[in-house]
Amino acid sequence: MTGTYFRPFEKAEVRILPSGLEVAVIKKPGFVRKYAVLATRFGSQITKMRFMGDREEYDLPEGTAHFLEHKLFEREDGNMEEKFSELGATSNAFTSGDITGYLFCTDDKFIECLGLLFELVYKPVFSDIGVESEKEIIKQEIAMTRDDPDWMGYRTLLTLLYEKHPVALDPAGTVASVEDISSEVLYAAHDAFYGSDNMTLLIVGDVDTEDVFGVASMLESQYGSRKSEEVEVTEVVEPWNVNVTERTIRMDVARPIVWIGMKDDPSRFEGPLAKRRMAASVLIEALFGPSSVLNDELYTDGVIDDNLSYDEHYAPDYGFLNLVAATERKDELVGRVKKALKDAASEGIDERSYELALRRLTGGLLRSFDSEEFVAYEFLVDRFRGMDLMERPSVLAGIRLEDVNDVAKAVFSEGRVSILTIEPVQEGKRA
């Protein structure tokens, strides 16, 4: 059944308004909830910028994008969440490395909420008092993540993999960097990155596409016709080899948790990024998935007692795979995983594992379209990284075994693997 390919029912209709604002609509017939996200191509990875014509670089403290996301809800007479609440809608926002998104969901007040979303994103009101009080809330958010082994494992692994690339920065920043954020910084970031031509509005739900484009055009002329300030963003050159090959941290966990990161090199991507990412996805599914030899042997021999967890992350300027497992037998786990990586790099993945991985991923992709959150987030992230969620099934169907083995050869080699162990605390000391 290789090559089976299912186009999702859903299609994204995309138009670009005169201001440069991109508007995309994905219809979900029969869904109660209407979901809208207005997102900018700005996230925690941008920490330096230069306004055109300026000589000096402008420093953005770590965590600026996330701080801005929190404070954009502030208004002189309360907050924007309250206005959504008055309509019976819920609002929220998120920040990651290369995206900040503002969203609402409603069932019956879609047009009114869309107006509020534009007002929220395009009409900032930052106050010094508001910025100061938010620092305490964000410090508690950071404290919360420090106690979360999943978050700490993933974020720490990134710092082992990446020496210079800002993908390794924590989106929330640090307790110290948050102190350096002021309303002046927030306005500068808003001027630079919140122009319409840097943003995408995505609607997912049972809506009338033409109505949405009509209302968005009207709101654009009312609120969002400003273009972004022209800025240059400083780019870094990241070596292919990992920053640190091995590290141990200690947390209040029951037993060791091992994270293994494997680093790809963007300069080696042959062909489109979407294809490389999907080949990597097939690779880890075949090698680490529930029906893989590796997972089965580790489970049967009692090295692990839950299936391996794994994931791939690709953008135009980075790519990595990661694997995580809890185990009392760390050396055995790492030894067997390394052997499996070495074998895959030299001998490749077998045809049967590759076909099963394709099937599993095809079904999984189709099922995930039942989640509006998945569709919204993945569509935006893909788009900002030059990919297209709606094309994933066809890209997947076109992945050949050679593409998969190319990734294995590139990534599973000496110097490209980092290992992080979270050990249980000893004598009450945290590393």
Binding site: E86, T90, E134, Q140, A143, V253, A254, T300
Partner: protein, 430 residues
């Protein structure tokens, strides 16, 4: 709109079908009712973990997982949960809406889930496999220990364990570790063949199927195998005498302190008073302008994560906040004061209106997720009062500010639990 068509296959075996082309996947879920106890939770957990390792046709785990891959990544999973004092063992199967080998997904899923539950991999003596049992016992023992890794979940559990130490609701989500260690192939096999089939069952299916075919396939797969003749016991118990509130503090090696507070609310999902309690809880800590959010987070800047929830069967209210340990006393003071203010009638029409709209959206949205909708239906079934989303929304729309205050004034503070960073605890002692 009533989503499910209900059918009774036999006493103790009901089927609920929602044929819809809204989703790209098909979902089949079995809920088995049992009395919540250390024994049921421990056995049900271990049994489900062993059953999902392999079937008679695909006895090795890798063979079984390969079969799931062939079905385009079909999934089989389980959960041991509770509604009040009713234990629910749930097993489910799902797959993308793709016909495989000319067989419809609902037929594939009915056979798959039935084979997992009733045709498991066994050894030559007809017992469940010792190797799977040993591995899964070790896995569950590790899960028990790792509950503490998630500090929010751990604080919730420690609150409940203290608050309900004399009630089944307080038992550990994975059961009892001493009992777990003692279970071998014989008792687990007799639990599987003798006890599990006696649990009354509700089977749900959601997807793009023909109702006649789906009912026929489910009946063929489960009739006679689920007897459903045992008594699952009452859905909840209540402690009779009022008692003084407990204040408990425990240590962990963390940066942040986790504060959780439990009240008892004299209500149940089926009661006419329930909507006013649910609405009071919503205003207290469950929507974006809630009392806890606006006061603990926005006004005092003490927390990032703060809120509350209601347990609808037993009638419990839980509030939580992640805070700086130095502010523990202030946070408790503010959280308790907000509950008292609600009880004293400090509720505006604006809050009432917004909270009603927010609850209504949440209720209606459950129809966008098959598992959320099945979960809602089960709360209704356990409490013997099923409501469509419209009926549930109508029920809250008439609640007045006075009724909200009356509900909140009926909440009795039971336990305040703080999970404190070890360093802060040491400093406090010194």
């Amino acid at each position: 709109m009533r989503f499910f068509e209900d059918f009774k296959i036999s006493d103790g075996l009901a089927v609920h079908l929602w044929p819809t082309d809204k989703f790209r996947s098909v979902h089949l879920q079995v809920f088995l009712h049992n009395p919540l106890s250390d024994e049921t939770v421990t056995f049900n957990n271990l049994l489900s973990a062993v059953l999902t390792r392999g079937t008679a046709d695909y006895p090795e785990t890798r063979q079984f997982n390969t079969r799931l891959d062939e079905l385009y990544g079909a999934s089989v999973s389980y959960a041991v949960s509770r509604r009040g004092e009713r234990g629910l063992l749930s097993l489910w199967a799902g797959m993308a809406d793709i016909e495989t080998g000319g067989i419809s997904p609902i037929k594939v899923l009915a056979r798959l889930l039935s084979s997992v539950m009733f045709d498991p991999a066994k050894n030559a003596e007809g017992l469940l496999r010792q190797d799977y049992i040993s591995q899964e016992k070790s896995g569950i023992a590790n899960d028990m220990a790792a509950l503490r890794d998630d500090k929010d979940a751990w604080a919730d559990f420690r609150l409940c364990a203290n608050m309900c130490k004399d009630e089944p609701y307080g038992i550990h989500p994975y059961g009892d570790d001493t009992l777990l260690k003692s279970i071998g192939p014989e008792p687990l096999t007799s639990w599987w063949s003798g006890v599990m089939p006696g649990f009354p069952a509700d089977i749900f299916a959601v997807g793009d199927f023909d109702v006649v075919e789906a009912l026929d396939e489910i009946e063929k797969s489960f009739r006679g195998r689920i007897r459903g003749d045992s008594d699952p016991g009452p859905a909840f118990c209540r402690i009779q005498q009022a008692r003084a509130a407990n204040f408990i503090s425990e240590g962990a090696d963390t940066v942040q302190a986790k504060l959780v507070i439990g009240w008892r609310a004299p209500t149940n999902w089926a009661d006419d008073s329930y909507p006013s309690h649910a609405l009071a809880n919503h205003i207290f800590g469950q929507y974006s302008q809630s009392r806890l959010f606006m006061n603990v987070r926005e006004r005092e800047g003490m927390a990032y994560s703060v809120g509350s929830r209601i347990e609808p069967t037993k009638g419990l209210i839980f509030a939580h906040a992640g805070i700086d340990a130095a502010k523990k006393d202030r946070a408790i003071e503010v959280m308790l004061a907000e509950q008292k203010a609600l009880a004293a009638g400090d509720v505006t029409e604006k809050e009432l209106d917004e909270a009603k709209k927010s609850m209504a959206l949440g209720i209606r949205m459950s129809a966008d997720s098959p598992s959320a909708l099945c979960g809602r239906e089960m709360t209704g079934i356990v409490n013997k009062r099923r409501l469509t989303p419209e009926e549930a929304v109508a029920r809250i729309s008439g609640v007045t500010a006075e009724e909200v205050a009356k509900a909140a004034s009926g909440w009795t503070l039971d336990t305040v639990f703080a999970l404190m960073p070890e360093d802060a605890k040491k400093e406090a002692k010194a």
